[in-house]
């Protein structure tokens, strides 16, 4: 009997503890949803009263911040296209061709990629970009991101392509397709779920990144949202909470929309292997 009682209280204790942890993590999110609609929002949590959109009006009038969202989109989409296309072709080649030591190539690239996207390489990257005269261009940001993200993307995709039987393309080629046709008709659609994962991951990485655009860009009209968010700090360095909250909500929307779109359109799943 005491044993069951002990289990009973242990169960209650566990539930209370997890509920507390849940609340602890939910609080910032609740604040994040309520604060943008509260014209008197502070760092404390409060239900908006009255519920208003004045914060958004002010944010929409900030041209620098609005252009920031657009720039983020340009840089993210540009980077994603490069990473998606580059990683797909490279990892397909790495997976299907009999290059000796291809695993080593991937691991070495992976090792360097963590250096490239890390802050340790910021000075050399700045010097290189400066040397080729691309400082203060969106292209520079896109290229650096693509270079930094490609190895990891290739690593993920190669693993994925390795798991797809070669007989798909082989049967297409025997049926009369050229290697290029076999790739586009058969291999690419089968790899697509893997590409979607890589694309979403790359988009989120670039969208949320601060350091690289901050260092490579000079003029304010090219700054992405992650940098432009600083325009909602007063000159003394204190955040204008109301506008910051509204802008943050806008800033996070594309990522949320992307997730919803991808999971609706493609689903984060792989084609179930055909049961033989």
């Amino acid at each position: 009997m005491t044993r069951y009682l002990g289990l009973y209280f242990a169960r209650i204790g566990f539930s209370v503890a997890t509920a507390l942890i849940g609340v602890f993590f939910a609080l910032p999110l609740v604040w994040f949803i309520f604060a943008p609609f509260n014209p008197r929002a502070e760092l404390g949590l409060s239900i908006p009263d009255p519920f208003s959109l004045t914060n958004f009006e002010a944010v929409f009038q900030n041209g620098f911040a609005m252009r920031g969202l657009w720039n983020s989109l340009v840089q993210s989409v540009g980077g994603v296209i490069l990473v998606g296309a580059g990683a797909t072709l490279a990892s397909y080649a790495l997976s299907r061709s009999p290059i000796p030591g291809k695993s080593l190539i991937t691991y070495i690239l992976l090792l360097f990629s963590s250096v490239v996207s890390g802050s340790a390489a910021m000075v050399p990257i700045f010097l290189i970009i400066n040397g080729i005269g691309l400082i203060d261009t969106q292209i520079a940001v896109i290229l650096v991101f693509a270079g930094g993200l490609l190895p990891t993307a290739m690593f993920i995709l190669r693993d994925f392509i390795d798991s797809i039987p070669k007989s798909y393309e082989e049967s297409a080629m025997v049926a009369g397709a050229s290697p290029v046709q076999a790739f586009f008709d058969v291999a690419l659609p089968v790899i697509r779920p893997g590409i979607v994962v890589v694309v979403v991951w790359a988009f989120v990485s670039i969208w949320g990144s601060f350091l690289i655009p901050f260092i490579l860009l000079r003029s304010s009209e090219k700054m992405p949202a992650s940098v432009a968010i600083y325009s909602f700090y007063s000159e003394a360095g204190t955040p204008i909470v109301t506008l910051l909250a509204a802008y943050s909500l806008l800033y996070s929307l594309p990522v949320v929309i992307l997730y919803l779109f991808v999971s609706w359109k493609f689903g984060f799943r792989f084609f179930g292997g055909i049961k033989a």
Binding site: E170, G176, D185, G273
Partner: protein, 369 residues
Amino acid sequence: MASIRFKGITKKFGEFVAVSDLNLEMNDGEFVCLLGPSGCGKTTTLRMIAGLETPTSGQLLIGDRDVTFLHPKDRKISMVFQDYALYPHMNLADNIAYPLKVRGEAEAKRHARAREVADVLKIGHLMERMPSQISGGQQQRTSLARALVYPSEVYLFDEPLSNLDAKLRLEARGFLNHLQRDIGMTAVYVTHDQAEAMALATRVAVMDAGKVVQYAPPMEVYRRPATTFVANFVGSPPMNLLPVEAMIADGALHLEADRVSVAPLPVSRAVAAALKGSSKLTLGVRPEHLSIARGGEANAITGQLFANENMGPEKLVTLERDDAARFTARIFTDEVIALEATVTLGFASEHIHLFDPAGARLPMDGEPA
């Protein structure tokens, strides 16, 4: 349709020789089975015909064309893969019509043709389904339909039935045999299942370690296996083999082994030649040629009863000898066989096969070598 000729083809993967100096001719309209255990080079041979592997040396011809280095798409071939390789993102209609699509056929026309073939294979009502929504047998027929949807010179099959369960496999095998009679295609069929090879082939190429050991019609392979390897591979269960001491006395061949009695046999030229340097031969008898001895048999072998398996129309009686060698008899009766612990099996002299110490068949006089 066209013939296929291998001229001294060798394929190496690094140091490993998968196929070694292969010379093989397959006639127009022939159904050739490449039969052998895994790793014997049969799939590599097939993939070289398809162009999915390139020979290390030698020449390969389809009809009169040298296709040794030709891309698969230009070879006018069809292939059915072991895993079917159905495209998971296309429905059955698009899967079957794919070869026509890459040939630039209009959608309405190619779907009509796909439907035609699918109807013959009884999957016409599934055209809108995806490959993952149909059964294994239907997937197998879909991949077959895709191979048949356009006219090819050569049809290649890479163990197409090995992923089916036993009942479906028999059904599909019968259908393939019917298809071969119907359209008389030139086909190369890889299998490790000797029953499939026997049932389908007009000629069987038995392969071992990258070489063709015997290339002959199925009944020839069954009746006169060229080596102990073939004897041991073809037949279910395979041929019983037993090492024996041989000597020639009074113009007759005497075979001796422990608890075996064999009536003297005529001495053929091949046997006489084989016994010049050695006295060891291998005796072979097929299980279906053995029966429970009732006394008075010309030839008999004795051992301890090992197993007595009831298969329905037949019984498999296996005896084990002191050296752990086993002899299996396949007895066609639906009556229960009561057996003692010691069993003697008898066999007729005409069913004896002899092999030299290297494993090569020793033909009787008058028998084609």
